[in-house]
């Protein structure tokens, strides 16, 4: 459970967000139950996973490989589903 957004001190008259941070401030990675893991040996570096990621949590590194930002990855599995060479496995959180 994250800390309460509204408290006794700042409870507003209407449901308004007075210090908006957008989706950058709200890390949705905590929702994740399945974590995507890229197999670097299978990955062809096509970038389809980066294109399809709905949270823009996948980014290309300088060496051409891809990194998944687990602060924002919700574990939806779209990347694993779209990967043409099945280089991404979804594993249960808490296991390697």
């Amino acid at each position: 459970m994250s800390k309460p957004y509204w408290t006794k001190e700042n409870f507003p008259i209407s449901p308004t967000i007075r210090n908006p941070g957008g989706s950058l401030a709200f890390k949705a990675g905590m929702w994740r139950m399945m974590r995507p893991v890229i197999d670097p040996n299978k990955c062809t570096r096509c970038g389809i996973c980066e294109t399809f990621c709905p949270d823009m949590a996948i980014s290309k590194l300088n060496d051409g490989s891809f990194n998944i930002n687990l602060d924002y990855c919700k574990g939806c599995g779209i990347c694993a589903n779209e990967c043409p060479v099945k280089a991404i496995q979804m594993v249960k959180e808490g296991r390697e």
Partner: protein, 400 residues
Amino acid sequence: MSNRKLISGNRAVAEAVRLSEVNVVSAYPISPQTPIVEYISEYIADGKLKAQFIQAESEFGAMAACIGASAVGARVFTATCSQGLALMHELNYVAAGLRLPIVMAVTNRRLSQPLGMWCDHSDAMGERDSGWLQLYVESCQEVLDTIIQAFKIAESKNVLLPIMVCLDGFILSHTSEVVDIPELEDVRKFLPPYEPDPKYHTLLDVNVPMAAGGGCPPAYAMEFDYKKFEAQIQAKEVIKKVDEEFAELFGRRYGLVEAYQCEDAEIILVAMGTIVSTAKEVVDVLRDQGLPVGVLKIRSYRPFPKNEILKAISNAKVLAIVNRAISYGVGAPLYSDIAATTCNASHQPILLNFIAGIGGRDVTPKDIMTIFEKAKKTAETGKIESDVEWIGLNRTLVGG
């Protein structure tokens, strides 16, 4: 100083809007409200009112514009009725939930089907639980005075809710009466310009970013509704205080309720809107015959003035509640609210439930006489003939 003029209820609304110096008016025409927006757009075009008029593509758009304008701190007015009010329904909850002090005139007209141009309260009753305050008025003078009061009530820090001023379509909107129109400088003393405080209000400002109108998880939604409920209850005191301030300056007061000849009355007719005026005339006639009768006008329907009602009916044996709306499968809204008010009280009169004036059917002095006769019979026998009495219903058409 003031002007006395023969004007319609709709003109009285427009005059009050001019005197309240609103900043934004957004509306869509619908009978019998149309003259209100015609007059207001005339005032704006003639430079008598410095406001922005937004002709919307629908009532939904009109309320959306009102919400936007109010959220940036403008004093906002709109007017509608019937299908127009129904089309606004979704956004009426938004306006109340964002706690925006929008004032709306509702020229009460029935909802289709059957489609009808004429008066009943089914339109405003559909918005009963939206969080908006609702005041029902009975004369052109009260229309003008109440619109001006409405801005002050809605903008009060203890309220901050939108408010409907309900006037019976055609019966009041298109009837002309002599109205005392106050001077602008006197109204200014009563109603200074709207100055929202960013600490309390939903106030959008590019320099202080804020997101309004977003989602709210179960952990908080009930708390916002509780605050809204609290504000409605607090509004009772605000309505009374504003009414007193108004009376000091202009000599006219209306109250949350008006108890006419109720002190020693054994039979009290309870109603809202123009039926009240007709009933007062009938009460005068019956009082001359020695009958202890009275009329209780519910001016503030939301918030519902429980204590004032209980005080006014403290000697009554029978209450004849006249509804200009129907609640299908149970009875009628005003009846239910009065029943909820008296059910735990120490003094419990017998309640009679009358439905009258539906779809613009006239409620004549003769009808009011019939209602009092039925109530008198109940007062004598203690018996209730029917759970719902339909006044003027043509039984040859529907049987029963």
